[in-house]
């Protein structure tokens, strides 16, 4: 913003090539101003403010917020600190969730997209149906699946019992079942989103490539490997990164379905950060945790980029 303003005051005098009658002058900055105000206040400033907070012993309820340097960060790496165990437990929970949900959310929607990209009657209806759960929001799907997965009276166990399978699985309270539930519900909920992105990507692959593959006598599988997959590479990269970021944000499902159960095993990093910062009001510590998590995600995203690039 400071930048923008500085530009605004100087550019009026700057020569503008081929300007019709009047240079753009202040006008573009005026058009940008309302957005810039919101962007500065609620995106850029808080990003910096959070770093500042993380360097303080920032108890929301107390008047003094002493500067403590990197102590909040050091505490996260010191096994004697009170937050150490809970923090890494929650990071592990987020890690477990990500490791199991990302491959499923990358592969299954691709299969669905390949099916829904073929031309047949009613294709748009099926696309809509598979996408529909995504518009419901995590609060609705959370309370809904909490009910469906209830070990004693839920429809899932009743259905399993009806077809002769074990009917008393502790979907919401036992391990590893709580993870199966959280991953399963998330795949069910968000699969349509990735599928739609794949479909758009599939449509951008030039038809001629497929025709050429046919001329070369390629079968279905060869066609998929040599035309579809390479054509989808940028889309695939987007889906992988986007899904990793979304998984690392997992909150509502665990908050509503397992409530961290059986103990705190399914309490994810965001859940713990929110509790520490916004329930216990230890905001400095919570801010430090969120930046450490961001750093981890940045590294993972960079590694992913690398992996996709070196496949050339």
């Amino acid at each position: 913003m400071v930048d923008v303003l500085a530009e605004a005051t100087t550019s009026t005098s700057a020569p503008v090539a081929a300007a019709p009658r009047r240079g753009p002058g202040l006008t573009p900055y005026l058009f940008l101003a309302p957005y810039a105000l919101l962007f500065l206040t609620f995106t850029l400033a808080p990003a910096a403010y959070g770093l500042w907070i993380s360097l303080h012993d920032w108890d929301y309820l107390l008047p003094g917020k002493p500067f403590v340097g990197l102590d909040n960060y050091k505490a996260l790496f010191s096994s004697t600190s009170p937050v150490f165990d809970f923090f890494w437990q929650s990071m592990q929970a987020t890690g477990v969730f990500t490791v199991f949900s990302v491959p499923l959310l990358v592969a299954v929607p691709l299969g669905i997209a390949l099916i829904l990209n073929r031309s047949f009657k009613g294709r748009t209806v099926f696309r809509a149906v598979y996408f529909a759960p995504y518009v419901l929001g995590v609060a609705v799907i959370g309370v809904l699946w909490r009910f469906l997965l209830d070990p004693n009276l839920g429809a899932v166990n009743a259905l399993l019992g009806a077809i002769g399978l074990p009917d008393s699985t502790a979907w919401t309270t036992g391990l590893p079942w709580a993870w199966v539930s959280l991953v399963g519900v998330t795949v069910w909920w968000t699969l349509g989103f990735n599928a739609v992105i794949y479909i758009a990507g599939l449509q951008d692959i030039p038809r001629e490539l497929y025709d050429a593959a046919k001329v070369d006598g390629a079968g279905r599988w060869a066609e998929f490997r040599h035309v579809t997959l390479p054509g989808l590479r940028p889309v695939l990269l987007f889906v992988v990164i986007n899904t990793i970021l979304a998984s690392s944000n997992m909150f509502g499902q665990a908050y509503l379905i397992t409530q961290g159960a059986p103990g705190v095993e399914t309490r994810t990093a965001i859940m713990y950060i929110a509790e520490e910062g916004l329930r216990s009001y230890r905001m400095g510590s919570a801010a430090a945790m969120s930046y450490l998590l961001t750093l981890a995600l940045l590294l993972i995203s960079m590694v992913t980029f690398r992996l996709f690039r070196t496949k050339d």
Binding site: S11, F42, V129, A139, V140, A200
Partner: protein, 275 residues
């Protein structure tokens, strides 16, 4: 496609559809059961004795769970934010798509870069900013902070870039200024894109969970998502009431989805591809 293969094809697709639809239908059905029947083992498929008592409980004016109020709050917050997103994002996108100015590249890349900033890094500082502004426990805190939609700017900019320049040039010759071009030429030509963004922004705000759960404290200020969380706590064994609440939260978005699904899906895929 052969007849037999056709039948197999549609059977597979329909079976898969059932997986996506059945839970939602179950939610609706349960909301019309009695608490007793909702927890019967084995469950009944259709309500033996259909009742709207769950909805009566919800709308019965329980001061701890004022569901009608939550519904209106959700409606206000989501439409308020959608409107704000449309105004500020379209103006910014217009400048970025159609004007030359110094710093344009930097501004645009900064906006795009924030699409990849994890939301949770902003939650704690934004909580403090909202507190400073006196917006904690109010709808303002729900409407304003999320309105700087990077996606909105990106999406509209892409659309504006594709609009023909001729009409704009004609307006310039007639002496129209930038604001007139924006409101009389660009915006009317962009109705489909604006509608798409409005729907996406509405859905996003309507379904937001973590932020309202932590910045709203009084039951009368809740929106539906935190409200549903408290319903689950308050009526732990009364599943019809919880399912009725979930149905109420779903109905507007499902209607919106059915009406605008082509645009929503297009918007999603566009945001994904060229992001």
């Amino acid at each position: 496609m052969g007849r037999v293969r056709g039948i197999a094809w549609y059977t597979m697709l329909s079976g898969l559809s059932l997986v996506f639809i059945a839970p939602v239908v179950w939610m609706l059905i349960t909301s019309f059961k009695t608490p007793d029947e909702a927890t019967r083992v084995p469950p009944t498929l259709l309500p033996q004795d259909p009742t709207t008592s769950a909805y009566d409980t919800l709308f019965g004016g329980d001061s701890q769970t004022p569901v009608l109020r939550w519904f209106l709050n959700s409606l206000l917050a989501a439409s308020g934010q959608a409107l704000l997103v449309l105004v500020v994002a379209s103006m910014a996108a217009y400048a970025l798509a159609r004007m030359d100015f110094r710093g344009k590249k930097i501004v645009f890349s900064m906006i795009i870069a924030t699409m990849f900033v994890p939301i949770f890094t902003l939650i704690i500082p934004n909580f403090l900013i909202i507190d400073r502004l006196g917006w904690l426990d109010s709808l303002w805190g729900l409407i304003i902070p999320g309105a700087a939609s990077a996606f909105g700017v990106f999406f509209l900019r892409q659309f504006f870039l594709g609009l023909p320049r001729e009409l704009e040039e004609a307006a310039v010759l007639e002496g129209a200024n930038s604001w007139q071009i924006f409101t009389k030429v660009i915006l009317p030509l962009s109705k489909p894109a604006l509608a798409t963004l409005a729907v996406i922004a509405f859905l996003t705000n309507w379904n937001d969970f973590i932020w309202p759960v932590y910045v709203l404290f009084s039951p009368e200020n809740f929106t539906l998502p935190p409200g549903l969380g408290t319903l689950q706590g308050a009526y732990n064994i009364n599943y019809p009431v919880i399912m009725a609440g979930a149905s109420l939260a779903s109905i507007p978005v499902l209607i919106l989805f059915v009406v605008a699904q082509r645009y929503i899906i297009e918007g999603v895929s566009r945001s994904g591809l060229k992001g």
